[in-house]
Symmetry: C2
Subunit: 508 residues, 2 copies
Amino acid sequence: MQDNNLEPLYIKVKEMDNTAIIVNDGGLKEGTVFKCGLELKNKVPQGHKVALEDIEKDGEIIRYGEVIGYAKNRIEKGSWIRDAVMNLPIPPELSTLKEYGTAKPNGPLEEEYTFLGYRNADGSVGIKNILGITTSVQCVVGVLDYAVQKIKEELLSKYPNVEDVIAINHNYGCGVAINAGDANIPIRTIQNLAKHPSFGGEIMVVGLGCEKLQPSRLNNREDNDNIVMLQDQNGFTNMIQSIMSMAEERLEKLNQREREEFPLSELVVGMQCGGSDAFSGVTANPAVGYATDLLVKAGATVLFSEVTEVRDAVHLLTQRAESREVTDTLVREMDWYDKYLNKGDVDRSANPSPGNKKGGLSNVVEKSLGSVIKSGTSPITDVLSPGERVRKKGLNFAATPASDFVCGTLQLAAGMHLQVFTTGRGTPYNLSMAPVLKVSTRNELKKQWSDLIDINAGTIATGKATIEDVGWEIFHDIIATASGTKTTCADKCGIQNDLALFNPAPVT
Amino acid sequence: MQDNNLEPLYIKVKEMDNTAIIVNDGGLKEGTVFKCGLELKNKVPQGHKVALEDIEKDGEIIRYGEVIGYAKNRIEKGSWIRDAVMNLPIPPELSTLKEYGTAKPNGPLEEEYTFLGYRNADGSVGIKNILGITTSVQCVVGVLDYAVQKIKEELLSKYPNVEDVIAINHNYGCGVAINAGDANIPIRTIQNLAKHPSFGGEIMVVGLGCEKLQPSRLNNREDNDNIVMLQDQNGFTNMIQSIMSMAEERLEKLNQREREEFPLSELVVGMQCGGSDAFSGVTANPAVGYATDLLVKAGATVLFSEVTEVRDAVHLLTQRAESREVTDTLVREMDWYDKYLNKGDVDRSANPSPGNKKGGLSNVVEKSLGSVIKSGTSPITDVLSPGERVRKKGLNFAATPASDFVCGTLQLAAGMHLQVFTTGRGTPYNLSMAPVLKVSTRNELKKQWSDLIDINAGTIATGKATIEDVGWEIFHDIIATASGTKTTCADKCGIQNDLALFNPAPVT
Ligand SMILES: [Ca+2]
Ligand SMILES: [Ca+2]
Ligand SMILES: [Ca+2]
Ligand SMILES: [Ca+2]
Ligand SMILES: [Ca+2]
């Protein structure tokens, strides 16, 4: 792709596919003839699909070996296949999904891999040494942000082993329907964020006093001596002083900690995609899937997520469940989300975005098939509801919306140490609580955003690297980042993002 | 209240009330005898209610001249009346509310009042001269926050007439159901925030490129030369440069502006309460209501809001509607919110908060009666749906949730220049886009939070000032704050808060 003299090239994923995507930058013009003799009937943009055979009216349009749509009218071989010429297939009927156990565990890796982390008192392991300060209600955020800035300026440099001070800010806590059926989701998310292993168990809580979500519900400790209540303070100056002096005590303790060596079984890695294009499913996501398999073989925990991008390919996942119970839980999460969308009068055509379509992804089925590849081939050992913490090592489906920051926040609540994020169109997404390794699907994006993309999987499309090559590169970068020897591009730039809480219940 | 030697004191609001609230700090103990001969049967905390007469089982419990509950069992004269001894009344049946026109316009003020503001090209008037930078999607927030910090450090001091640089950050734009029925609410809110009069029409837009909410939808201009698209930039460094250089052009233009004198008819003031207690309805809110009447008499526009705190007293508002059409619109907004809460399986008992109850507010009916007093006595000239802009001068009901930041954000979208915020329990609430004048309901809060409370209405309870006195004080402080000659406590402290968007539609 970066080579302008590249011969006309397409990628066909599975033998039975009757479509392929165009590799060449800028697309290919009408009349282009490929080595195999195929001739383009239309101009086809980069990443968009071409028909490899004639497809009759109502005929199946196949990619990844799966039906991604039905032809509205006859499609001639060599034609551009886009959203407008296809009918969307019906999603897998959830009640029929009973299968499990088709995926066999991949054997362990030959070599044993370790990373350098921080041991916590409760036995968990962190990859960063961060002072975390959580909040029970949005009312305190302005005061806390001010205090955090002051801690960074005046205290942090005195404690060189502490890497950062982070406020867990959110829009929850009051003015919300705290007894609604779905309120358990935001509440457990906030509770589990405070337990994040990179906070070393020294979390502080800043509360107001009169809020619905009482601060004691966020506290992991027996005593309440890590809570600052603003309504108990004598004005703003005193609020800042109280937060600063409690922070200094915690910084002192955290500063005692040093990195130790741990097996990969202590590591929790999240996988996500955002700003996807048609290359996502053939370059970056398969490479991430390969890295997922390596991690699971090494004993690590891997989270994949994004319900709306999994729903249409869920039949490929249920069969990989380790047990019937896991299949049932996966189906239950899909069903919950179907109902959640129905309540808002939304259907699944809401995903993909205009950028996805511009990048060649015709519909949610095609997007889903490319998205679930991130999960590799291992058995699925557990399914987490939104905001739940990891219970089992191995491959986990953590049910979350696909929205990047909402998914990231929920994976952090699950205990994710770091995230791998694939992107085709490009996004400067980052998380404050965990490093994010960004993988580009195309050479052009890596070239254009050289200071934001950590790993380029575009080389897979142009034949310069294999899926295995890039998969191993991701795997090694994960270990280096976890160990603190590699800094991600987004962290080098200094991009800080707020969390985005998933609250499916009403505000009041 | 601040006087420990204060004789036993209660406040009864209306002649027909059979309850009153205790004024004394720390409450009053069992056996206390008031001047009138009433003797307390129990210890009653400050702000809590005492029965002034015997109330039979199922008898009406009356405050503000309205039924706030029914006695579960017989209540003896002198007893403490709290939530547990009352049944909640049924809210006014919306379909029966047809009345309008009972409120007569209050005559104009004798004196003419003016403020110093900035004239905008479109004829509107701002009270601040701020460079606003809006966003089409949450993905760009990390980059924009970085750029805004750099603009403040490197550029702002070169343009002394520009008061601030503010990013309009939100969690919307992608990963949302953008075609859902209720998506019009967050979309028009973001659109109208960009039109805020204190931005002087020089708003910038930072977008990503592939998001669902395309940046052109936020643009007020014919051309697109005020949009920076991150996917068009060459990496992070270039993104920051592009934002900075566009900002500098805008700062140059904004710096030309100077304050001019305007009549109060150009001013839009929002009223809100948060962290309320039983004094809210007898001190701060009546004083705000008095100021509301003064503003409306002077020709200004006043917004009051908070649907869940108005719902149970809505029969007192519909009759004050200027026309049948206004009554119908008010009823329609209440009905929409009833349905929104029902979808989430929530009922109105979700409001009040634990802090409200601790402060003596037994239930949402009592809270509502105290809350609507902020609207004064003028006719209601218009009702705005969430996120809509003001269309008519005078008293407007802007339908919003009661949640402080969500209400603040929607009042800003309506075009609010500044807000008056009453609080009993205390909150360090602030808005970045507009000054917030904070009014305390009790002397103790003003004493404890002297650097956060602008105006103390607690003096009304202890008889040191009248509702009229404090109402005029609020009125004069509004004019001084709008004119830039007074800085609010929260702004002096430097408290910055993010907006909180109201999105009743699903995320995807
Ligand atoms: Ca995503
Ligand atoms: Ca990070
Ligand atoms: Ca409020
Ligand atoms: Ca402000
Ligand atoms: Ca923020």
